[in-house]
Symmetry: C2
Subunit: 419 residues, 2 copies
């Protein structure tokens, strides 16, 4: 899938400092670091605030000009030589899941910092300004909405609505920003010319394929449902088969249906029931109510359209056969988001130039790059493998080589775009 190295254009790119990169990643992981090697740095927590302060200090030491926007996104700028050029933006997020790892998000931010340090120490001045961003609250595990900073910045989420979101303690995003002094005022950034984001894959595909770099060509389309199966509670010992309306039997067959519909679409298909709650959940009672989530993802909008028709129909047949009633709500439908061919090519070429086995990959997870791309800014992402595909877990792991390779590709793609 990777072009041969000789096909890659030559570029005068410096080498990033692998040891410095890794040390900085490990230093960042101390903010909210947990005893099991994980990170608990939920968005706008005290730990997130302290990590942001450290990040800002590092940026200042690298000679970057800082600004913070009203939703707390931090931008760090290295000027270009051509005043007419719009900046090339790179970045990711420093917030983590409560039981997160060291690399989800932090890799893309700290890699961007290493790119900046490397450009500074090599006195490389690109034509376009280069900017690094730390987006606010990518994970969405505190205020209920994910990608708050990037979506608000990109215009798909209103700023007032974003600031008004509250956590379980009733604290709003606005109040949480104030508490850590990250409600900024900067609204003066020029629209970026392009956006690049390095991220761990959070899946097993690159590792299994032996690829070092994932050239992310876009994000999947998605459709989410909330389903409630209504049966009738009954005594497990006294109720004969013919008198049963077992909500769990119906729901279980729908779980199997979701899996079959996924597999019918091959390796590009995703279909998951992640959440399922049984009522009354008592050993000797036939369940009367089962609530569960259903989600499908696929690179093709047309396939998601088909699933949006097929799934409710087939689930309805199952419910009829199981003598139960279904209540189904389509929660969300997201179109596929292709990334920009020119930006994708820069990533692919940088991997080839470094003799790194690469393959095209679709992003299965949500990322800040998606609202950015949806707003029309040419975007690409770079994935590095992560061990066993594990993320959102303290055992999330990448090697120093993987971090360095991804960062080198980021540097070269950004520099090529900025030249």
């Amino acid at each position: 899938m990777a072009p041969t190295p000789t096909a890659a254009p030559r570029i005068n790119a410096p080498r990033i400092n692998r040891g410095r990169l890794w040390d900085t990643l490990m230093q960042a992981a101390r903010f909210g670091g947990t005893a099991d090697g994980g990170v608990n740095r939920v968005a706008l927590s005290a730990e997130d605030g302290a990590c942001r302060d450290q990040f800002r200090a590092w940026c200042e030491s690298a000679g970057l000009a800082l600004r913070v926007d009203p939703i707390g996104n931090i931008f760090a700028r290295r000027p270009g030589t051509d005043p007419a050029r719009h900046p090339v933006l790179m970045g990711s997020h420093l917030d983590s899941q409560p039981t997160g790892g060291k690399f989800d998000g932090a890799l893309g931010v700290i890699a961007g910092l290493e790119v900046m340090r490397c450009l500074a120490e090599n006195n490389i001045a690109a034509a376009a300004p280069i900017e690094l961003v730390n987006w606010t609250d990518e994970e969405g595990c505190r205020f209920g909405g994910a990608l708050i900073g990037s979506a608000s910045w990109a215009g798909s989420l209103g700023l007032e609505a974003a600031l008004a979101l509250t956590d379980r303690a009733g604290i709003s995003v606005g109040a949480a920003l104030d508490a850590i002094f990250y409600r900024g005022t900067a609204t003066d950034g020029a629209r970026p010319d392009a956006y690049f984001e390095l991220h761990i894959e959070q899946g097993p595909i690159l590792e299994q394929a032996g690829s070092r770099i994932g050239v992310v060509t876009g994000a999947q389309a998605q459709i989410w449902f909330d389903v409630v199966a209504h049966g009738r509670a009954a005594h497990a010992g006294t109720t004969p088969p013919s008198a049963r309306h077992d909500a769990l039997v119906g729901a279980a067959r729908i779980v199997d249906l979701v899996d079959r519909m996924m597999r019918a679409r091959g390796e590009d298909g995703r279909g998951t029931v992640g959440q399922l709650d049984v009522h009354p959940n008592s050993r000797n009672t036939v369940p009367d109510t089962v609530r569960f989530s259903v989600e499908f993802r696929h690179p093709s909008d047309a396939e998601i359209e088909r699933l949006g028709v097929q799934f409710p129909r087939e689930a309805g047949f199952i419910a009829r056969d199981a003598d139960i009633k279904l209540e189904m709500r389509e929660l969300l439908r997201i179109a596929a988001q292709p990334f920009d061919p020119a930006c994708i090519a820069l990533v692919r070429e940088a991997a080839a130039r470094n003799n790194l086995a690469s393959r095209d990959i679709i992003s299965g997870a949500g990322h800040d790059a998606i609202p950015v791309a949806r707003s029309g800014i040419p975007t690409a992402m770079i994935f590095t493998p992560c061990r066993d595909g594990i993320s959102h877990h303290p055992s999330e792991s990448i090697t120093p080589e993987e971090a360095a390779e991804g960062t080198q590709v980021l540097l070269e793609a950004v520099l090529a775009r900025a030249s």
Copy 2:
């Protein structure tokens, strides 16, 4: 299924007082009565204590001699005319589920009281003594073990072990008995000649068949399992079908298997997954662990033996196909308990004598009659229909006619045995 009325032996039986029976049932339902028409009278609670006090007062007014045994079972005795005869025992339980109804248990006790009142006011002296019992804690929803009073009395549960069982607050059965003054000392009861228990069916069979009386021929055999499906947590968006080890997909197919194995055994089969818990139970994560209960019931011990072999084997095949691991523990295996043919015949004859459509039925639920029968005492049960087969719910309901018919059959069966 019922013999023709002319086949039933003649008996000089008085008629029970339907209005008094119903009034007394409604009075008993006030103890722990809830606003929705249900009853919350958990074993050895203050409500249970107050209901017991009222029951004792009613028994004393009916001229019965009371004794309380060390596990709190209350016996009320009407003497017989033949000193050599052992007593004929009848009864049930006054404790309820926390969200119970007015009739589960209480019907059998209050019907026994009505039998006693009826015998007293008609000056009927049987050859054998007749005793009425209120068993302690049939429901098992407070101290973890069901049928505590009857099983302890019948010898299948040690008295010390029974008294030492504790509730979630750490209160033991012994302490709870002391708190309501029902830890008795009576150990002087003669072994009963027979035991009869009237109970609501707690299932839909009689109602659907148009039967007024269920002639209970025995209790089902049972086998219970605890099952844990172990898969691997993974990101729902990034993990392709080939890399999934979805514990819920495997568990769902086993839920379907339990249902199919039940239906393969016709209307006598019971197979239920009542409890199922998903971990981490997050919409975007492939579940790594699913814990669930499995139980099968059938009138035939041989069928339960077969299920005990077949189910783990078939579930194992499903787990292998789903790329997950199963952990399975057989929790409980209970042999079928046939009731006594002579006692059963007395119930059948009493129904026929009263022109009540009856049918033989197997008890699907647990009842105090089962440990009593298992201890070798000739036993039978009488079921009355209950509306829509519902029990353990405030809407549990029977009609005054159904209560009266069951009580008349109880009186005649007991009197025939005692004569």
